[in-house]
Amino acid sequence: MIQISFILNGKKVKLETDENRRLIDILREDFSLTGTKEGCSIGECGACTIIMNKLAVNSCLVLAGQLIDSEILTIEGVSENGKLNVLQENFLKYGAVQCGYCTPGMIMSIYALLLKNNNPADEEIKEAIAGNLCRCTGYKQIIDAARATADTDMITDLSQ
């Protein structure tokens, strides 16, 4: 067991847990943040993508010990009081969602990109979601939603 504290969606949280627990399980089981999905458990599908210290990472590959003093942002943390952010709105508008299981991970990957680069080229958007698999929609509408968001330049860093 270890004691850890980290920032989760803008709030400081404390937790005592086994060192070898995965971040995805901590999020889903201890904090009921089930928006983060699991598709493969070994870092290949990107459904579990969250933002850790401003970088998109697969939460199925992060262990509890690595969380100490980190900043974690999940899909639940990117909208405020139930109001969607521009990227989420654009996913809706451009029809970038089908079954939706890959969607939170896609949004977090693009969100992380936009945090560090608010005017990415299409190639950079593609690279950002190259590790996110979608079995339903094809990817075109996802790029459209990301492009439109980058063009509006309105994403704010909620984790600050």
Partner: protein, 763 residues
């Protein structure tokens, strides 16, 4: 009586279904072509999109209860064995282990058409279920599984299709798989008449559905009643299987599916895991969750069978096809299934003489399940490849050759189609990709990267059929709820049903709530597969809405003391045609009712007699082939289809893009690999089993050449799930040939095959 029973006949995959269905006696007229629709056809955003982009959508995978326990399955490490002894004494020592099912303590229930048991002492593939343990946590369950000691008698196995064909192959299943044969005219005569004959052999790999949400169930008993949350495309199939497996009344089982992360056919039937979870849950008196991991997903819950296809086509100089021979075989795993794939050869073109044989062989591998366009994806690839070969031999353009052999009637029984705009699809697609200008002779281009163009056609059913029902509840405030026992597996069913009701009642879609996927509250609705959902359930929703409108009209007439023909309706208000001041809106009407909600039930009408109902289309691909690396890069896909009326352009685009990407994966990447020596599955994860990513995504254009098909049903729409995917692989394969001048006949077209083909061409 406003309904009657009929014998409903329709095709699901290549099986002709016949079942009794209750259909409305008076049939709602389809919307006319020139009628301007306000909601149907509009690119409305998905009703469920908020939940999905915000992360609040609750999938079966997310479902939990207090006191929930976790179950895990022990699967056979061997491809063929008999279990002599199971010793669970060590496994159950841990106090966190709550219960265990083995063939020794499990009901002797039949599975796979009686050729296996729920838990069988005979295991027939690497991944076959042996035992299931429920424990406090997943980790406890997994550790306990490792402590089960089993004595196996290991038997010889066969996982190689060519070996499975031999008489000497080890016997896998007692149930005999008979070849299916179809004959028309006289093949030999047809070949004699031909001026040219082309002959070739093609093959395709086993592909696996791999939806992103794993197969999973959460079960909870409430006394004798069982609640099942399941990631399923067929709530009724799950309910009925669970009830009969457990020997309890179907009314005691309630199956709920709210959101699910894709299915593609793999989730049409009830899995063993659901039944095992229910048995364990009963045993321990706690809710149980069972989730398959990616390895299990690739082993045990279905796949598209492999195929080897020997094709022969004879044609006259003028291009008319005189004979088709298709001899196909493949494997559907260790249990009764079908690898048949000759349907495109049978139905795409006019041809008086043919012989088609489909044979399925057992191997020691997981059983097949329907996978987006069963038989048609692999069949179309091979058949449309040889069609191109014949066109080339005749010196004809591939499209010209196809148009020459166009059939205006179903070649099987000469019945007319409700609609067939295949030629229009050829024209629109060719135009978009600039076929005439761009396509050169095969292998013509110079340089390291060679560009090629190819196309392929598509036929599928997809007209839908009864039985499907919908209940509509209209509330005093003008909001409504539509309830139907179908499911939205990501395709957009929630949204299109709301649009249909909105169209009839002229109320905005945001006021319409759609409830699906709950056997406890919904009337029966179609399974979500086979491109059946929209054309089966959509008309039932419209029927319910039209009945509601009639009901309201008769109420308005009574309240306003006017005859019904003197009334007009617009956006929630009835008014007198003669005296505009006489009106009744919903609140006025409901002010006179005792109840605050009115209810109607609609049903899917019968299909028209004497017609063949199909979807058609053509896809065109532009590819770049790097002759140094062997890599194929798809640059552009144009899809042009006849699918009746577009219900929602946004969800339609998703379906087409997704289908094309899945077709691209099948053409270039996806392949289940089993090590023939050990019989073990090698592609157990998403790195080894490659799905297409954004990197492989080409430019995609989707053209719908149909406005509506008003003979098919009251919404004029046909399904699009399968049509979207069927021709993609064939179009890509033909484009690769056009680029490099040598044909790759075995899917997926991986770089090694391209390089080998180029080397053999140069020698």
């Amino acid at each position: 009586m406003s309904t009657k029973f009929i014998k409903s006949k329709f095709w699901v995959e290549d099986i002709k279904e016949e079942m009794m269905a209750e259909v409305p006696i008076s049939v709602v007229e389809p919307w006319q072509k020139d009628k301007e629709l306000k909601y149907v056809g509009k690119p409305e955003s998905r009703k469920d999109a908020y939940d999905k982009v915000s992360g609040t959508a609750e999938y079966t995978f997310d479902k939990s209860f207090s006191q929930i326990a976790v179950a895990k399955t022990l699967r056979s490490p061997y491809p063929n064995a008999v279990i002599k002894k199971i010793d669970v004494s060590e496994a159950i020592k841990n106090k966190n282990v709550l219960g265990i099912l083995t063939p020794d303590n499990c009901k002797d229930n039949d599975w796979y058409s009686g050729t296996s048991k729920l838990l069988d002492k005979k295991v027939r593939y690497n991944g076959d279920e042996i035992a299931c343990i429920v424990a406090e946590t997943e980790q406890d369950a997994e550790e306990a599984l490792r402590l089960i000691k089993i004595e196996y008698e290991i038997l010889p196995h066969v996982t190689d299709l060519e070996k499975a064909k031999l008489d000497t192959a080890a016997k896998i299943n007692d149930h005999e798989l008979k070849p299916r044969e179809y004959n028309r005219g006289n093949l030999e005569e047809g070949l004699k008449e031909a001026d040219i004959i082309v002959e070739d052999k093609f093959s395709t790999s086993v592909a696996v559905h791999n939806p992103l949400e794993p197969h999973c169930s959460v079960v909870k008993w409430d006394g004798e009643k069982l609640l099942v949350f399941d990631s399923t495309q067929g709530i009724w199939a799950v309910r009925d299987t669970v009830a009969s497996q457990l020997g309890i009344p179907a009314s005691n089982v309630r199956v709920i599916k709210k959101y699910m992360g894709g299915g593609f056919g793999g989730k049409l039937e009830c899995g063993k895991y659901t039944v095992m979870a229910a048995l364990l849950s009963k045993k321990i008196g706690r809710p149980v969750k069972i989730v398959l991991d990616r390895k299990e997903m690739n082993q045990a819950v279905g796949n598209r069978p492999s195929s080897v296809q020997e094709l022969k086509i004879g044609a006259k100089k003028d291009g008319s096809i005189t004979a088709i021979s298709h001899n196909a075989y493949g494997t559907a795993g260790a249990f009764p299934g079908s690898a048949g794939c000759s349907w495109p050869a049978r139905s795409l073109y006019k041809c008086p003489n043919m012989k088609l044989v489909d044979t399925t062989y057992y191997i020691n591998a997981g059983k097949d399940r329907p996978f987006r366009a069963p038989g048609h994806v692999q069949g179309t690839f091979a058949f449309e490849s040889i069609i191109d070969e014949a066109a080339e031999k005749l010196g004809m353009d591939p499209i010209e050759f196809r148009v020459k052999n166009f059939t205006a009637v179903d070649p099987d029984w000469n019945g007319p189609y409700t609609s067939k705009l295949l030629r229009e699809a050829y024209i629109a697609g060719a135009d978009k990709i600039r076929w005439k200008e761009n396509r050169k002779k095969a292998g013509f281009g110079g340089g390291i990267v060679k560009t090629g163009y190819g196309m392929a056609s598509q036929i599928w059913w997809g007209g839908g059929a009864p039985p499907s029902y919908a209940i509509l509840k209209l509330n005093w405030d003008g909001s409504a709820e539509l309830v139907s026992g179908t499911q939205d597996i990501g395709t957009g069913t929630y949204t299109i049903l709301a649009q249909i009701v909105a169209e009839v009642l002229e109320i905005p879609t945001r006021k319409i709530n759609v409830v699906l996927g709950d056997t406890g509250v919904c009337p029966f609705g179609a399974m979500s597969g086979g491109s059946m959902t929209a054309p089966s359930v959509g008309p039932a929703a419209r029927d319910a809405a039209e009945k509601m409108l009639s009901k309201l009209k008769s109420a308005a007439a009574a309240i306003l003391e006017l005859s019904e023909d003197k009334l007009e309706y617009s956006e929630g208000v009835f008014s007198s045609k003669d005296d505009r001041s006489k009106t009744a809106d919903f609140s006025k009407l409901f002010g006179h009712f005792r109840e605050g909600v009115l209810v109607t039930q609609g049903a899917r009408e019968a299909n028209p007699e004497g017609y063949a109902i199909n979807t058609f289309g053509a896809q065109f691909a532009k590819v770049d082939v790097n002759t140094l690396t062997g890599k194929v890069c798809v640059k552009h896909v144009v899809a042009a289809h006849d699918i009746g009326r577009v219900l929602n352009r946004k969800t339609l685009n998703n379906q087409f893009h997704g289908g094309i990407m899945m077709g691209l994966g099948f053409a270039l990447l996806e392949e289940r690999v089993i090590d023939n020596y050990t019989g073990k599955l090698l592609t157990t994860n998403l790195l080894d089993y490659k799905l297409p990513t954004i990197i492989e995504t080409p430019e995609i254009d989707v053209i719908i050449v149909s406005e509506e098909d008003n003979k098919v049903n009251n919404i004029g729409a046909k399904g699009i799930g399968e049509p979207a995917m069927i021709p993609t692989a064939g179009a890509i394969a033909n484009a690769v040939y056009n680029a490099i001048g040598v044909r790759i006949k075995d899917l997926p077209i991986t770089p090694d095959k391209v390089l080998n083909a180029l080397a053999s061409k140069n020698n």
